[in-house]
């Protein structure tokens, strides 16, 4: 089966890379699913969760990551997800995210609240 190579990179590290059969991400104009053979694409990502359905060497399964804004570029069956901050759902400390969410709500810090919500959603989608 055809597969596409995914690179999920944050500004200061490579978060995940491997083979996948489907990647679902949220762009500014709505959710988009990319499968092998998709047309070359460049999109702006919204803060949200990205679901990667892995295949081939990476094994069958799915990887969920929280992405706080960034880009998606796809060409020649290679997909790059670029984000200033990106975390795998498995890495997210749920309790800490919950605490951060409460703190952000009480401080009415909209940016922090959104970040924490994105993390919680990514964990829920895991």
């Amino acid at each position: 089966m055809a597969e596409l190579h995914v690179e999920l990179v944050a500004a200061d590290r490579r978060v995940w890379s491997g083979e996948a059969s489907l990647v679902v991400a949220r762009t500014t104009s709505g959710d988009i699913g990319v499968m092998p053979g998709h047309q070359p694409l460049l999109g702006v990502l919204e803060a949200g969760s990205v679901t990667i359905r892995t295949t081939g060497e990476s094994g069958e399964g799915s990887v969920v990551a929280a992405v706080h804004g960034g880009f998606l570029s796809f060409a020649d069956d290679k997909l790059s997800l670029l984000a200033e901050v990106a975390e795998l759902a498995d890495e997210i400390d749920v309790e800490r995210a919950e605490r951060a969410l409460e703190r952000a709500k009480s401080d009415t810090d909209a940016a922090a609240e959104r970040r924490a919500e994105v993390r919680m959603r990514a964990v829920a989608a895991r």
Binding site: E7, V9, A10, A11, D12, R13, R14, T27, T28, S29, I32, Q39, P40, L41, L42, G43, V44, G70, F71, L72, S73, A75, S80, L82, E84
Partner: protein, 314 residues
């Protein structure tokens, strides 16, 4: 103990204390280089992927974007100089400042007005002392820069370049001067033009390559879909590109600073060792001179006594 010997002993003691300090600084710097190098390497995937994406948009769309097109008569150029907050790093700071001076002179020669942006206390004091105007400066993070620091630096620069040409705070070009980390032993100051777009190492070449690609147009460019549109993707992409370039420059400058410190402290330690050796020689000679003098005094005194008693016997 003679007065001379005491002076030498005291100097040896103080040089030894200094040597201990420089040795410690050398070791600290050595361990920091490794860390800094690792951070440079870790930031690379993002930078390369981003560069690829920028190239794709620049070549794959006819979008006429403020950040990619050259202004016909550039009149103002921003120069971002990255040095460190502290000295004790040999020629590290002065080399970077010299490179910035060269660039400034060249730009002025081309009839452009230069706007200075500076990272690092050392550069700020140098410019202040010469009473040059600094548009904006940052300090406090040069040893260990984070992405948030790079964002803070990039923000006014992006605003300046996006401003209308001829506007009060607008600039037409953006140059960056920092010290490139080539290896543990070699770091060299580099001057790059960051905007209008230059993707490869040398600004002029790459700008031409992109221009050529754009001109040749449809036959070679892959048909990219832009989500939501080419203009909006460029709008979002180019600030990130500038940030990531500045982040990379900050990291490289930090690694270079640590390498320069290590080298400077190593030679300071070596010099201290040489100094201790020669001072020990001098101290030994002085001690020997003291002993010789004492012996000759004793011998002289004894023979004087012997002479005196021989005289009284007679």
């Amino acid at each position: 103990m003679g007065a001379k010997t005491r002076v030498y002993k005291r100097r040896i003691k103080s040089v030894k204390a200094t040597k201990k300090i420089t040795r410690a600084m050398e070791m600290i710097a050595a361990s920091r280089i490794v860390k800094a190098q690792r951070r440079v390497a870790a930031s690379e995937p993002y930078a390369t992927e981003l560069t690829r994406a920028v190239t794709a948009v620049a070549t794959g769309s006819n979008a006429d974007h403020a950040l990619t097109t050259e202004v016909e008569n550039p009149t103002r150029a921003a120069v971002l100089l990255i040095v460190s907050d502290r000295g004790l790093a040999g020629g590290y700071n002065s080399n970077a400042i010299k490179a910035a001076d060269q660039l400034t002179n060249r730009l002025i020669g081309e009839g452009k007005e230069v706007v200075n942006y500076i990272v690092g206390t050392r550069g700020v004091t140098y410019y202040r002392f010469r009473e040059r105007v600094i548009k904006e400066s940052w300090s406090g993070f040069t040893d260990n820069p984070t992405y948030a620091d790079a964002k803070a630096v990039a923000e006014p620069l992006i605003a300046a370049i996006q401003a209308e040409s001829g506007a009060e705070d607008g600039v037409d070009e953006l140059h960056i001067v920092y010290t490139e980390f080539i290896s543990m032993m070699t770091q060299s100051p580099v001057q790059n033009r960051m905007l209008p777009l230059s993707i490869k190492e040398t600004a002029e070449e790459s700008a031409e390559v992109i221009q050529d690609n754009i001109k040749r147009g449809p036959e070679i460019r892959p048909l990219y879909d832009f989500e939501p549109s080419a203009e909006e993707v460029l709008d979002a992409l180019l600030p990130r590109y500038v940030e990531s370039r500045i982040y990379n420059a900050l990291l490289q400058a930090a690694a270079s600073k640590h390498a320069a410190t290590r080298r400077a402290m190593k030679s300071a330690t070596d010099n201290a060792e040489d100094l201790i050796k020669s001072l020990t020689r001098l101290a030994n000679a002085a001690r020997q001179a003291d002993i010789t003098q004492e012996i000759s005094e004793i011998v002289g005194g004894a023979s004087a006594l012997a002479d005196a008693s021989a005289g009284s016997d007679r």
